[in-house]
Symmetry: C2
Amino acid sequence: MTRCADMRREAYSYDDIYGEYCTVQRYIDCPPRDTFEYLANIHSLSEWTYSTRDFEPTNVPDLYQGVDMLGVDTKIFMKVVANAKALTVDYHCAWDQGRELWMIYLMRVVPAELVLKRPGSVVLWTNCRHPYYSENPYPQTAPTARKEWVGDMWGIFGAGHSIELNNLKVILEYRHGSRLPVGPNLLLDS
Amino acid sequence: MTRCADMRREAYSYDDIYGEYCTVQRYIDCPPRDTFEYLANIHSLSEWTYSTRDFEPTNVPDLYQGVDMLGVDTKIFMKVVANAKALTVDYHCAWDQGRELWMIYLMRVVPAELVLKRPGSVVLWTNCRHPYYSENPYPQTAPTARKEWVGDMWGIFGAGHSIELNNLKVILEYRHGSRLPVGPNLLLDS
């Protein structure tokens, strides 16, 4: 107990919280199964993320290619790994190339009835600071005009992911509350 | 980007971080499968947690009864819900009674090779602040001599869980590094 009390500090910096692991979490008033299915659909990313758009299948099974508006002319490759029983949804992705999907967005939907005694979902979202955030391992695949590297943005992932999680919350709560299909609700060529 | 920068504060309080959701995470140099199996074994809790001990089966399938040394004469009831594919391990538990297991410790093992490009495991652990932490819903089941309620300790969960996660790390890294069975390594009557 004394050790616990000693560990508790007056103040923490942004980097204390988001330095090595970036975790955000939010309550969403939408049933866990709907939240899971929405997240597990790669096209939903075009609605609730800040900058990833326009995913299309590639020749590789389960691998999609889209664009990340964070960087000039930047392709993003993405595979969704979802587990319907555990309600986990992981986005394995990378800028520029699809051979090594090293950026992994770990998400988990938890029934809020269990953990908060109310209907809806709790969404947990963690990114771990992979060493490639510090240096692009495949510079030859980057567009020549681009100066940014995705890892330059690590320092705002905590804030950025909070905003995106709010987007997710607002979209799902609106649709669930209005008895609309949860979506995604995009005009897609099929 | 401006909104992200605006959200970034100079300093955060302990409650800003651990107020509603208490998440801790750690790298452990032990293979993910071993870490998962260790966590999924209820008897491991007697080794790595601060205060839960001596779990024994009850008449209810999958429900165990143990003691929680945090409270005087305190029984703890526990069910482990593990998913070997997603590597999630959730402890559903409660003090005093086993009918409503409202305290849920959500854990997830992530292969560190994927997210940190190194062998081993990353363990994510989240608790959500269930309303029962604020008030015992079954006071009639509490031992009369006990003044504490588990929710009184919510304020030190962040620190306490960090210490326990260190215990887990030290135990697993020692055993894995020494090529011993990961355990648990208890003298149990069977």
